[in-house]
């Protein structure tokens, strides 16, 4: 039991506080960029714009998960347990979005 207790504490680097502040700054800048891009691209309705916003969301998610949630310091196996299934979810999202417009007629009520 003592052995397990000892392993529980994930190694945290000495400059953790600096990393947290850096991540905070990155997240703030990305959010400001998000809002600025929204107004710059307001009159455009291209798919590229949607992909850009989803990409920025994924970048933010990467920083939250890797630094705030300590994922960066976990074992690779644990990372894949969590990230692996989410790859299938993104496949489902892609399927739903590409098939959606075929049901438009049934929605006009």
């Amino acid at each position: 039991m003592d052995q397990i207790e000892h392993l529980e504490h994930t190694e945290s680097p000495a400059n953790m506080k600096k990393q947290i502040i850096n991540t905070f700054i990155i997240l703030t800048i990305l959010t400001i960029v998000d809002i600025a891009l929204y107004f710059i691209l307001l009159s455009s309705h291209s798919m590229a714009k949607n992909i850009l916003f989803v990409f920025l969301g994924i970048v933010k998610a990467f920083y939250i998960v890797s630094v705030f949630m300590h994922m960066k310091f976990e074992r690779k196996f644990l990372v894949w347990i969590i990230v692996g299934p989410m790859l299938f979810v993104s496949f489902l999202i892609w399927l739903a979005l590409t098939e959606a417009d075929y049901t438009f007629d049934s929605r006009l009520f």
Binding site: E8, S12, T31, H45, F53, I64, F68, I81, M86, A100
Partner: protein, 251 residues
């Protein structure tokens, strides 16, 4: 077989038993698995949103209202007459979410929801600082950061309540939507409501953890791992908001 010699060689291997193969505790691993299942729930809601959203192939009408311009009292009716809010087309979010508390009658598209995003990011940062202080066994610091996190969460909930009441006052409900397709309002209430429920439960758990920290429960236990586990949940809530913000307001 089960003599002491084999046991000691086995435990040196990753899956030999006697230690966590993931180098995390049982509770933390289960928190990760729970968050994965919760991510599935939110993904299904966002997939449903995307599916309904993309059935409306007609593009969004271009904006006709300039930011900071005056908002009339019958703004919604004007937009309906102008063909911006029709059931065949998904409305432009900047025309729907354009109010700000105490600044009545000014067109401020997405400003309030941006503020909410910053509040949630900020409370996420204070949470991770509490976890970091917990690693150093700094009880006082953990207390202070937990308090800031709870305030951030409560502020976010207050903002969401204000946004909901504003949306409801304008006539939106699960069955009715003056801004366009009924599904728009229904999905808004379901997805932000489900996220808000998560924030509410997160704030309650944070309060419980705060009192445990004050009472010195984790000081006696020798580690602040419980703060870490709650932190994981709290960051997950922030993570979901990133995508709710992207899908509902930006796209």
């Amino acid at each position: 077989m089960a003599n002491s010699a084999t046991l000691t060689t086995d435990s040196k291997q990753t899956w030999g038993g006697g230690k966590s193969p993931f180098s995390v505790s049982y509770g933390k691993l289960m928190m990760w698995i729970f968050l994965l299942s919760d991510a599935f729930t939110f993904s299904s809601l966002l997939v449903a949103y995307g599916f309904v959203r993309f059935t409306f192939t007609g593009s969004l009408p271009n904006t006709i209202v300039k930011p900071f311009s005056h908002l009339s009292h019958n703004f919604v009716e004007e937009m309906q007459k102008a063909g911006m809010f029709v059931t065949e087309r998904w409305p432009s979010p900047e025309l729907v979410f354009n109010h700000f508390p105490f600044l009545h009658g000014i067109h401020l598209p997405l400003m309030f929801v941006s503020l909410m995003t910053f509040i949630l990011i900020f409370s996420s940062v204070t949470m991770v600082l509490a976890v970091e202080a917990g690693h150093r066994m700094a009880k006082k610091e953990v207390e202070n950061y937990m308090i800031l996190t709870i305030i951030g969460g409560a502020a976010f909930l207050g903002c969401q309540a204000w946004e909901w009441s504003n949306f409801i006052t304008e006539g939106a409900s699960l069955q009715n939507n003056p801004f366009g397709p009924t599904a728009f309002a229904a999905l808004f209430f379901i997805v932000t409501g489900f996220h808000g429920t998560h924030v509410l439960s997160g704030v309650i758990i944070n309060i419980v953890i705060y009192f445990n920290v004050v009472n010195g429960t984790y000081e006696k236990r020798g580690h602040y791992e419980m703060v870490e586990k709650v932190g994981l949940y709290w960051h997950f809530v922030d993570l979901v908001w990133v995508f709710v913000f992207t899908f509902f307001y930006l796209i």
